[in-house]
Amino acid sequence: MSMKKNYVVEIIRKAQMVELLAKGKRLDERTPDQHRPITIQTGVIQKANGSAIVTLGNTEVIAGVKIATGTPFPDTPDKGLLVVNAEILPLASPYAEPGPPSEDAIELARVVDRGIRESEMVDLKKLCIVEGKTVYTVFVDVNIMNVDGNLFDATSYAVVSALRTSKMKKYAVENDKVVMKDQEIPVPVERTPVSVTLARIGDTLVVDPNSEEEGAMDMRITITTDDDGNVCASQKGEASTISPEHVLEAADTAIKVGNEIRAQIVEATK
């Protein structure tokens, strides 16, 4: 789905945003390092192997996991497949159009995928059934249902929550044949990556920008951290600059805020 960058933020509101930020406040009364309330519901699509609906303020996304079996890539014969896909549905925003994914939607999917993959959240070797022949294929598809800023984090939390609560059929090799057993086993999840996105408005970095703040921002940076406080993925967005000081400040904020959100995700997906 494509998003037209047509959202014009009124000049007087942007001026007010910058004025309030100088006093450490945002229009919705959050402080710069505060994120909006997050809700997580899992197991909402019974036909999927796992699913989650996440709301981050008014941004709402749904992720569904479908697991099947297939052949591995030739260069990684002992690893299963994990693919993360995202679509901004036309029902999510007046600026979203149906059609093949725009560069925004593709960047969204790839950044979220990178955060999951680089953190090694799922040990792909544990998705191997018969090396070189049969592996699990895990598809995570995310549909954005309502856009109110920060699709990156909402999508990431939905993918992580859906994977943490996904079940797959157990396969065994019997008499040289791959046999599906009646048993269901959880997807092998090793750790819980958490993405935190900051936007720069005026001179201030704010966590979890909503739509209006995204309309007024000059720069956005998304940083994914893991359970040990390591940075495993990052992406700077928008055609502007970021100072080295802000990069380090963002990393520290992402670790701090990430830990708090991780606790919430783990609690919701027990």
Partner: protein
């Protein structure tokens, strides 16, 4: 070739326990999406479908504009995780046809002449599919149009009936649709008593054709009562029945 399983037991009950003329459980909720001008969510059996409306709004690209009426755009789309085997997100031929018949089922109910040179967009997103998703989608879409406050002559409501184990049954689920011998989705404007969607596949005797068709309409009327309730729940629950002291009714 293995024998097809029986879809209706000796006791007359279907696989999920329903009798031949029973609807699956249905719930409707209006106005859940914040950005959309109108929206409605329908949970019909295992179907989970969100419909949203944007508009009336400017037409893009401009050359598609109609000088004397609104252009109604619609899309029926299934999420990749909505069915048993993951579906590729790109629109399939089936989805494209269903998008068209849904549009043609809704247009007669919308007073498009009241909104010249505009577009009205109707998006039907199937999050989980289990037989009868197009009529469920139309039922939700018509509520979304009413929620958006677009002038409508009537609502539109639908129901699918068909033939299973040589019997006419109402509201086929996925198994009955795939393994049965006929499916007939029907949508109507309930007050005007006009059919706006009719598709038939399978072989029906003349008698069965009439029975299935009339059953679909009768069941559609039951669903219409649920649509009314859903709108009342969002718009009409309040202590007073009319304007209160502090306001005037403005023309």
């Amino acid at each position: 070739m293995e024998a097809k399983r029986k879809l209706i037991g000796d006791d007359g009950r279907r696989l999920d326990g329903r009798k031949w003329d029973e609807l699956r459980p249905i719930s409707l909720e209006v106005g859940l999406l914040k950005n959309a001008d109108g929206s409605a969510y329908i949970h019909w059996g295992k179907n989970k479908i969100m419909a949203a409306v944007y508009g009336p709004k400017e037409v893009h690209p401009k050359h598609q504009v109609l000088p004397d009426r609104a252009l109604l755009r619609s899309r029926y789309h299934m999420a990749p995780f909505s069915v048993d085997e993951r579906k590729n997100p790109a629109p399939s031929r089936r989805e494209i046809e269903i998008s068209k018949v849904i549009r043609e089922a809704l247009i007669p109910a919308v007073v498009v002449e009241d909104y010249p040179r505009t577009a009205i967009e109707v998006w039907v997103e199937v999050l989980q599919s289990d037989g009868g998703s197009r009529v469920a989608g139309i039922t939700a879409a018509s509520l979304a149009l009413a929620d958006a406050g677009i002038n409508m002559r009537d609502l539109v409501v639908g129901c699918s009936c068909g033939i299973v184990d040589s019997q006419v049954v109402a509201d086929l689920d996925d198994a009955e649709d795939k393994e049965g011998s006929g499916d007939m989705p029907v949508a109507i404007m309930p007050n005007l008593n006009q059919v706006t969607l009719l598709q038939v596949d399978g072989i029906y005797t003349r008698a069965d054709f009439q029975k299935a068709f009339e059953l679909a309409i009768a069941k559609g009327m039951e669903v219409y009562a649920m649509q009314r309730e859903a709108l009342a729940k969002k718009f009409f629950t309040g202590e007073a029945a009319g304007p209160t002291e502090e306001e005037e009714v403005v023309e």
